[in-house]
């Protein structure tokens, strides 16, 4: 099984409930607790997104801007993340993805990145500022190790383009629940549910909804329309308040 199909399987094999994909910013609130936090989150979530902090996170709201800044101030880098994932110790069963803006990946070097990521136990990448038209080189590089490159669809994406992006994606399709940055609370109106439904029909990969997912009620409402939900800012805020991320994730499923 290639790495990207491991992600797809992990999302599909959740019986009747939607898969839970959890986002954490690597090294937030500090470097020392990264691995323990990853284990705790990975024990509940079906897939974990590890955020690589960047100075200019243009698709992110204030929460992830803040967590990224704290991580950067402590010297968190992609190199540090991969080294720390490669250190001995138990790792979660849940497949791991790296969520990174493009520039830190370019700086690492696309020649070295796929192998280093695969060796560190990474199964794929989410790159919010790398649209389909610009992704050929990245796609080719990641394919060599079977790593996923997750494509986004949004409420303003025309249907033909949803098909194109769903076809080009690997792992799953990241369906943005609203136009805007991460972290805002959304009511999930009927037209957005309809868009998820359309995306699901147009895709052979799982559709996972992200941006603004905060409550068990939202997850229940989304469940018939999507294969998974992505929780980012709300989880980072739980961690920021010093609360238990695993308990928060379990509560989302209730």
């Amino acid at each position: 099984m290639t790495l990207h199909t491991r992600i797809t399987e992990a999302i599909r094999n959740t019986a009747s409930r939607p898969a839970l994909i959890a986002y954490i910013t690597a090294g937030f609130p500090n470097k020392e607790t990264f691995r323990a936090q990853l284990s705790a989150v990975g024990a509940v979530a079906d897939v974990v997104e590890i955020g690589v902090p960047f100075t200019d996170p243009m698709a992110d709201g204030t929460t992830i801007q803040r967590s990224s800044r704290v991580a950067l101030d402590q010297g968190v880098s992609l190199r540090w993340i991969l080294e720390s994932l490669s250190a001995p110790g138990a790792k979660p069963k849940a497949p791991l993805l790296l969520m990174s803006y493009l520039n830190p990946l370019l700086a690492f070097g696309l020649d070295k990145l796929p192998k280093a990521a695969a060796q560190a136990g990474i199964a794929g990448f989410i790159i919010p500022d790398l649209p389909y038209e610009e992704c050929d080189d990245m796609r080719t590089a990641l394919d060599a190790e079977g790593l996923a490159l997750v494509q986004f669809v949004t409420p303003v994406t025309p249907d033909e383009r949803v098909s194109l992006l769903a076809h080009a994606s690997t792992g799953f399709v990241y369906a943005v629940s609203m136009t805007g940055t991460t972290g805002k609370n959304v009511a999930v109106p009927q037209d957005v549910l309809d868009y998820f439904g359309r995306a699901k029909q147009l895709s052979s990969l799982p559709i996972c909804a992200g941006f603004g997912i905060r409550s068990a009620e939202q997850v229940r409402k989304l469940a018939p329309y999507v294969d998974g939900v992505i929780v980012g800012s709300a989880l980072v805020e739980v961690i920021e308040r010093g609360e238990d991320p695993a308990a928060f994730l379990r509560a989302l499923r209730e």
């Binding site: 996170p57 020649d111 500022d129 494509q151």
Partner: protein, 414 residues
């Protein structure tokens, strides 16, 4: 996207530049440029591209644009023979007076064109970022003139050092949003404007002020600013009988420079020189000279040269001039440098301020601190090349810089 520095095929790229093929269909200037944005903005950029294709060279649109430029902006701007500087520098110095445009800088050329385009595209509101405040003021003025609501994002640090412009934007009816994230200057303002746009990609028009950002912005801005170079070229021929030996402009994102250079690129006999903000030194974090000291990477939608660390994190910049205080540069400049058609150098804060004072004293013109970088670079060139004819893009006036000048040039003068 280039993963490794690719050896450039300079002769082919240069030939392509000379036959004006850039940007190509993918928004590339050779290896630079492109469109690195969240998926939410892709349909909006597609619509913008369609609008650009339909209107930017359409005769009715151009008639409307030129009517605004002639009767409201005050174009054509004069070409002034700088007699005092010529004598002192041992050169023939000519100033293209963008400082005399309405609102006081070249930024208005772009704003009025883009706000007209926004109206054609049916946008309900216009947003803009601003560093020195000149693009914010220009966009606020164009929006007031053309009846569009306007919101301007401005870094907290810039609001302080360019305070007079904040009041002007408010008087012109714009909402000014202080940006407290990131570096609190121009770059953070672009990030915030992009976040606003991503929240309402259908109803909002993002009026980007420099030749940076995702395609088609570097192209739109170049086309709208090229009026500077077209006029200056014609004026030089008419008033002096020949083209200059060199054309000089300051470069932050690079909008006034590309506007001056683009119509002169094919004139091989004209040297082109861009001056970046050298700040207080050559080290990372001490300047804003992306071409002089940067490395390739992707920031705010485009692949160009950036001031970044070894992990691809963008570094904070340092310059006395808010308008040049940006860690990236337009992709077309990156190409023009890599093929050697334009030379780029850095000018430090002190030399820029000294040039500003000299221009005030002998020409009776207070230039913007940004433009003073071009003056300082031209002076350096004049001293090394006696008797040459120099065309300087005087991109804006310095009234907005009074708070900074009080703290620097005027300090100690009773």
């Amino acid at each position: 996207m280039r993963t490794q520095p690719v050896p450039l095929d300079t002769p082919t790229l240069l030939a392509n530049v000379m036959s004006d093929v850039y940007p190509d269909a993918r928004g590339r200037f050779g290896p630079f440029g492109g469109r690195y944005v969240p998926e939410t903005l892709v349909p909006a950029l597609d619509r913008l591209q369609a609008g650009v294709d339909r209107y930017l060279h359409d005769s009715d649109f151009l008639a409307e644009l030129h009517s605004e430029l002639d009767t409201w902006v005050g174009r054509p701007t004069p070409l002034t023979h700088a007699r005092g500087l010529s004598q002192r520098w041992g050169a023939q110095v000519w100033l293209k007076r963008e400082d005399l445009t309405h609102t006081g800088a070249h930024k208005i050329n772009n704003s009025v064109g883009q706000v007209l385009l926004a109206r054609k595209l049916g946008a309900k509101r216009v947003i803009a970022e601003t560093g020195a405040g000149q693009h914010g003021v220009a966009t606020a003025a164009a929006c007031a003139r053309l009846g569009m609501p306007c919101t301007v994002y401005m870094g907290e640090i810039d609001m302080e050092r360019q305070a007079p412009n904040v009041g002007r934007m408010k008087l012109l009816g714009a909402t000014v949003v202080p940006v407290t994230s990131g570096d609190k200057t121009l770059r953070a303002s672009v990030d915030e404007a992009l976040r606003d746009w991503v929240s309402d990609p259908n109803g909002t028009y993002y009026c980007l002020g420099s030749a940076v950002g995702p395609h088609p912005y570097p192209y739109i801005v170049r086309e709208l600013q090229s009026v500077i170079g077209r006029e200056a070229r014609e004026q030089m021929l008419k008033m002096t009988g020949s083209l200059p030996d060199i054309a000089v402009a300051c470069v932050g994102g690079g909008s006034n420079a590309i506007g001056l250079f683009h119509p002169l690129v094919k004139d091989r006999g004209v040297k082109l020189l861009g001056l970046e903000a050298g700040g207080i030194g050559t080290g990372l974090g001490e300047n804003a000279a992306s071409l002089a000291y940067g490395t390739p990477g992707v920031l705010q939608g485009t692949y160009s040269l950036l001031l970044q660390d070894e992990n691809g994190q963008i570094r904070e910049t340092q310059s006395v001039s808010a308008g040049l205080d940006y860690p990236g540069v337009g992709p077309e400049h990156a190409l023009l440098m890599s093929i050697g058609r334009v030379k780029y150098e850095a000018v430090n804060d002190d030399d820029a301020l000294a040039a500003l004072a000299e221009c005030c004293a002998v020409e009776g013109i207070l230039p913007a601190i940004e433009s003073s970088h071009a003056l300082a670079g031209a002076k350096r060139f004049a001293h090394a090349n006696r008797g040459t004819k120099i065309l300087i893009g005087l991109s804006g006036r310095g009234d907005k810089d009074m708070p900074t000048l009080q703290r620097t040039v005027l300090k100690g003068l009773a």
